[in-house]
């Protein structure tokens, strides 16, 4: 994708997806039905993916949709449906005025942090490394090559260790789940 889009085109879509994303996130935390909340979260993921695409991070955008929206949230929905929870109003997790006040306070603190961060000066110029990676996008290998280089050359050991950690976690979850199931059966 070329970066020569009209600035108006760019900013229109930035604000469009940004606003939809924020609205969906608000709806996500305020819905009482777990399925509705999950669907709004999917919408947030979509808007994030669109913003990643506009930042020329197509791979991250595709993976965002593929992994989060396409797999993880489907499993969430699966669990919610399998447990077949009762009436939405009975299981709402929004508790009392104290909880609401605390949540509001945390929200305000985060907003303040965002305000501070936007005032900070980020390097306007790309670092040489980032510029090289960006130039590589147009080379053979496309948008995948810079990520593959980082994962499988620079940080190969860390990457493999992470995958072993994940595998161990999965095996552990299966073992623990089976133990509990066997105890219940008896």
């Amino acid at each position: 994708m070329d970066n020569t889009f009209h600035p108006l085109f760019y900013s229109f879509h930035f604000y469009l997806f940004g606003l939809i994303g924020i609205a969906s996130a608000l709806l996500f935390v305020t819905r009482k039905s777990p399925v509705a909340a999950a669907l709004w979260l999917v919408n947030v993921m979509f808007c994030l993916a669109a913003l990643y695409l506009m930042l020329d991070a197509q791979f991250i955008g595709a993976i965002q949709v593929l992994v989060y929206a396409g797999a993880i949230m489907v499993v969430f929905l699966f669990v919610v449906m399998l447990l077949n929870l009762g009436h939405p109003s009975e299981l709402a997790d929004i508790r009392g005025n104290g909880g609401r006040l605390a949540a509001g306070a945390v929200g305000l603190a985060l907003l303040a942090e965002v305000a501070v961060l936007t005032r900070a000066r980020f390097p306007a110029q790309l670092t040489p490394k980032a510029a090289a990676a960006l130039a590589q996008v147009d080379q053979p290998g496309g948008v995948i090559a810079p990520i593959a280089d980082a994962l499988f050359r620079e940080h190969l050991l860390a990457f493999e260790l992470t995958s072993i950690l994940l595998l161990t976690a999965i095996a552990g979850a299966v073992v623990l789940g089976r133990k509990r199931g066997a105890a219940d059966a008896r």
Partner: protein, 420 residues
Amino acid sequence: MPLDPMQLEPAFWPFLIATVVKMLVVFTLYMVVVAYSTLAERKVSAWIQDRHGPNRVGPWGLFQVLADGVKNFVKEESMPGDVNKPTFLLAPAIAFTMALTAWAVIPFGAPLPTPWGKVDLIVADAPIGVLYPLAITSLGVYGIVLAGWSSNNKYSLLGGLRASAQMVSYEVAMGLSVVAVLLLMGNVSLPQVVALQAAGGWNVVLLSVAAFVFMVSAFAETNRVPFDMAEAESELIAGYHSEYSAMKFSMFFIAEYANMLTASAMFVTLFLGGWDIPFTDWDTTGPATVAKALATFAIFAAKIGAFMFFFIWIRWTLPRFRYDQLMSLGWKFMLPVALLYIVIVSTGMLLLDVAGVARGSGTYFLAFLGLNVVLMGLLFVILDRGRLISPASSRLERSRVERLRAVAAARSSIAAGEVR
């Protein structure tokens, strides 16, 4: 900021107009083909079952599709009690949209020369290529899951649950089979995948096992027989769409055929050389002409048609799997096979690179062809486990026949004893 045409890139407006025209053409063709696939399904099933099929509306029943469409539009839209209304209405739209959207990155012909420059026959040449349809089709499951959940019907819910588990499981095998393709192609861009196949041989020959895994997963992903657990009519009425009527039901029907078409296009592009015409270099070399664009589009359509026929053929030939069989096939067979195949392919590529065999050369092709013939033989022997193919081709030993007869005799005497 006012939109000033002078600030735009010179190629912006032709690009925009070409893209809009391509979107309209692809959408229209897609809808027509989807509509006629329903007729094709009925005609082929009739042919397989030695019947006539729809033949009353128009010549050879060709206008049956229009009649069905009108019928679905004017039928009463029923709204069952206590459904979750927004989700109930949203589900058919999601199911259909996701199948349609995935088509954006599929190249469907050689470049078309126009007075305003060369137009690539692909709606959007996204750099992420193959990941895009995978990501989009993985969202199609929401349509089915939400339809099942919002219908307020236990059979619908069961259908939705089955669909979500099945599609998430087979997505893994499908993704891993695509990894083998990406390894060999060295790129994710679909036009490049097509170009490399045109130069170095089709992937269905070079990567037969991956093609097989992808094909089986495609049946599971589209919820087609033999994996149509989500709407198994003998168990779940009609599964996730039991409560739907008129056009909303029709949307699910359209979505099923749209998904088949998308899966066919993916298979054709990844494994059958996309729009490449086999045994000739005429289509890929030299300047772009209108004849080349039309011929390559025709061959692409023919390949998709063949794969659609295969979908329909399987549906009217094979019985439905049991649900646990489906799951164990996905997790205990397809997933390990796909993983092992990635290891074998990368080892093979490494060995050939070390031996100094150039990619795309005849030796490379033959080496992978030999490897895949051996692997496919092994795969089918393991899948068959001496039950179907080998007994049919060899005589039973005398002792085994006698043992079987003794068992049968014992069984019948037990059965007779029970009756008494």
